[in-house]
Each structure stands twice: as structure tokens, then as C-alpha cells.
């Protein structure tokens, strides 16, 4: 079979592979909304969002930080966020001296205040640095949220975060695509709650 026609099949198959994971995202709506309400409450109390991931997950961390710091939608308030993986000197420095699993945990110990939030991204849930970062953040009393994929890996097995959202795919590229939609929705819903402080704190009635 000529390469071009197998390429035609490959392109259809690649797009089709995205459908079910894309739809499945809607099933997480309530989990996402609840996490956002807690985050808005933390932002109101002066907390900041600390985001981290390795490899491609690091680019998501950077995207999330800029989303909050400099919203693309005019009129939305800038909220404090920091992507740990952007500091290449510290990440590579800690990795070289104490091992790659220790970088985010180390940065969190120096940067975290009690009202802060930790958001770790790992497409298979098995990134040791993200796992250690979430565990450290939990021990420091931070709100913890993990975006993972596949079967959730060690992050799910070890219940490393209070809130865990799993993209319903084993393909890391598709997992990333679902994560991008999830964090866009996260950003938007955090603002929904943040704009309405009367809804923060306390328990849901429903």
C-alpha cells in the first residue's frame, strides 16, 4: 500500500481516537466545579497556585500559570500563579544533586504558604517528581489537585492529591489535549466562584 494512503488512514484514525476521551471529560464536571470552588476560596484568602510537571507536563504548568497571571479574556482579574518547572536552573540543579524526584518538593518547601494550592500534571500519573511534589504539598497543608491520564498511575494508587482528574485515554498526546480543556474550564470556573464570594466557604446544600 502506498505511504500516502496509509497516511490517510492514519490521519482518520488519529482524529477518531480523540472522540471518546473528549466526551468523557463532561463526566468530571462536578469534580471540576468542586475543586474550583475550593481554589476560589483559597485565592480569596490570599493563596497562590503552584503548578508543576515534567517534560510536556512542564509546558502545561507554564500554560496554567500564564492563564491565571494574564487572562486572555479582557476584564478578568489576574490571580497569582507560579510554574515551578520554568526554573530550569533550580530543576536541573536539584535533579543533579538530590535526584529528579526531589525538585518540585524542594521548591514547594521554600515557596508554599498555608493558603496555597498545588497542581501537579503527569500524563501517566507515574512521574516521581510530581508524586513527591503533591505529597510534600499535602504535608504542608496545601490544597492539592492532580491532572493525570491512563490508569492514574502512582498518583492514584497512593492517593497523592485530594482532587484527582483522570483523562480517559492511554495515549499521552490525547491526555494532554484533554488536560488543556480541563485547565481552561478550571480557570473559568475559578473565576465564576471568585467573582461571587458569597458562594465560598461552608458546605454545599445540594
Amino acid at each position: 500500500m502506498p505511504v500516502t494512503s496509509t497516511m490517510q488512514l492514519a490521519v482518520s484514525e488519529a482524529f477518531a481516537r480523540r472522540d471518546s476521551a473528549g466526551h468523557a471529560l463532561a463526566e468530571d464536571s462536578l469534580r471540576i466545579a468542586r475543586a474550583c470552588r475550593e481554589m476560589a476560596d483559597r485565592f480569596h484568602r490570599g493563596g497562590k497556585l503552584i503548578v508543576f510537571g515534567s517534560g510536556g507536563g512542564g509546558t502545561d504548568a507554564a500554560h496554567i500559570a500564564v492563564e491565571f497571571m494574564h487572562p486572555v479574556i479582557m476584564g478578568k482579574k489576574a490571580l497569582p500563579a507560579l510554574a515551578l518547572s520554568n526554573d530550569a536552573a533550580t530543576v536541573s540543579g536539584v535533579s543533579a544533586r538530590e535526584g529528579p524526584a526531589e525538585s518540585f518538593a524542594h521548591q514547594l518547601r521554600r515557596w508554599a504558604d498555608p493558603a496555597d494550592m498545588a497542581l501537579g500534571i503527569s500524563r501517566d500519573g507515574d512521574c516521581p517528581g510530581v508524586l513527591r511534589g503533591l505529597q510534600e504539598a499535602g504535608a504542608l497543608g496545601l490544597f492539592t489537585l492532580a491532572l493525570v491520564g491512563g490508569d492514574g498511575g502512582a498518583v492514584v494508587r497512593e492517593r497523592a492529591a485530594e482532587h484527582i482528574l483522570i483523562a480517559a485515554s492511554d495515549d499521552p498526546a490525547v491526555v494532554k489535549e484533554i488536560h488543556v480543556t480541563v485547565y481552561h474550564v478550571l480557570w473559568e470556573l475559578v473565576h465564576v466562584f471568585h467573582d461571587r464570594p458569597g458562594l465560598l466557604g461552608g458546605k454545599e446544600t445540594g
Binding site: A24, L30, A33, E177, E204, G206
Partner: protein, 230 residues
């Protein structure tokens, strides 16, 4: 207490659920769930639309990229803000993939020293163009991402890339902005949406599919079998 009930101009129409009546958590949660469901459906629909409208051009573009890589070409990715993080994703996806061939790719925004030096001394419009002028050569690839299509530094980078005989590939949104008027691009993939968020999400799919097809064209193994988890 400020409740933000008064929508800034235009915001009420875009996000009606931001400005409900009296603060009612259940009502806001219900509206949030509906809104998230709609967004999930919207991006799935948008991807399907692209699968129809862009498939042939994506296949052709990936074939051209594979030819460049096979001949020693390198890929340079660039963009601003959220798109700069996509440029970094593109670079690391090609350079350090989960599977398949490792291919040379660089994100121009990763070098903060060069980006800030050029911005401070010359101007932000020249950052990517100057980097390509120094690092690029005939047979390389310029891969620029912008949601609007109007970023001046991205436009100038493509002008420089074309001048050098690089393959030029642009991802834009809405109607393509200034990039749509630029006649020197080899490939322009425009995501037909007015939402910056949906454009970015669809662009992520476009560059992943390009990556996968490039691997395919180079004879690398196809993607691993997919098993959906609940």
C-alpha cells in the same frame, strides 16, 4: 461585599452564568456543569470538523516535514503566551517522544536570555526572526503558533524563514488574521473558532497529529494501541 453582579461590557453575553441573580450555590453549580458539558461537546465537534477539512493538507505537510527531517533539517517552534508553551510542547514532542524517532527541534522561547535581550535592545517584534536568522538554514522548518494570527513577531519570523528557504508551517485561529494574508506560508492551519481556549485545544490536536503522521512517514512505529480507562 462585592459580588461582581454587574457584568463588564460584553461579559454577560459571553458568560451568562457568571452573573446570576442572588448567590445560590446550587444554581451556579448546575450552570457550571451545563457549561462544562457544552465545552466538551464543542471541542469534540471542532476536532471532527478539522478531521474533515484538514486531513489532506495535514498528510501533505507531514510528508514535507518528514522529507526535511530525513535530509537533516531541524524544526524551530515559536509563539507568545500560551502559544509559547505549545511551542515548547512541539519541541519536546519531536525531540523526546514517548515512542518513535527522536528528531531535532527547538522552542525559541525557551532561551529567556536571548528573548529578553532582543526585546530590550531592539524590540519584541524581532525576537523570533533574529533567532531564526542566526540558527536557521535552508531545509529547516519554522513552526509558529498564534491564536489570533496577528502576532507581529510571529509574522516577521515567517518572513525571515521564507527568505532562508525554510518550510513554513503556521497554526492560527478564527479567520487566520494577518497570517491569512501572508502569501509566503507553505502551510496555514486555521482553527475556525472565536474562542481562544477552543483554538488552543484544537491546535494541540493539530500538532500532535502532525507529529504522529511525520513519524509514520519516516517509517516509525504507529501509536501504541489505545485502551480507554474509565
Amino acid at each position: 461585599m462585592s459580588t461582581g453582579d454587574q457584568p463588564p461590557e460584553g461579559m454577560g453575553g459571553l458568560y451568562p452564568f457568571l452573573y446570576p441573580g442572588p448567590g445560590d450555590l446550587d444554581a451556579v453549580l448546575t450552570e457550571a456543569l451545563r457549561s462544562t458539558g457544552e465545552k466538551a461537546a464543542e471541542i469534540v465537534r471542532l476536532r471532527r470538523e478539522l478531521a474533515e477539512s484538514m486531513a489532506d493538507e495535514l498528510v501533505e505537510c507531514a510528508g514535507e516535514m518528514a522529507i526535511r527531517f530525513a535530509a537533516g533539517g531541524r524544526l524551530f517552534a515559536f509563539g507568545n503566551g500560551g502559544s509559547s508553551t505549545d511551542a515548547q510542547e512541539v519541541a519536546t514532542a519531536f525531540l523526546h517522544p514517548d515512542h518513535g524517532l527522536s528528531l531535532p527541534a527547538l522552542s525559541l522561547t525557551s532561551d529567556v536570555a536571548v528573548v529578553t535581550a532582543l526585546s530590550n535592545d531592539v524590540g519584541f517584534d524581532v525576537v523570533f526572526a533574529r533567532q531564526l536568522a542566526a540558527l536557521g538554514r535552508r531545509g529547516d522548518m519554522a513552526f509558529g503558533l498564534t491564536t489570533s494570527g496577528g502576532s507581529a513577531n510571529v509574522v516577521r519570523a515567517f518572513e525571515e524563514a521564507a527568505r532562508q528557504g525554510m518550510l513554513t508551517i503556521a497554526l492560527a485561529g478564527d479567520r487566520g488574521g494577518r497570517l491569512a494574508e501572508l502569501e509566503l506560508l507553505d502551510y496555514l492551519f486555521v482553527i475556525p473558532s472565536s474562542s481562544v481556549h477552543r483554538i488552543q485545544e484544537a491546535q494541540t490536536t493539530v500538532y500532535h497529529v502532525l507529529w504522529e503522521l511525520t513519524q509514520h512517514a519516516l517509517g516509525a512505529v504507529p501509536a501504541p494501541p489505545v485502551r480507554n480507562v474509565g
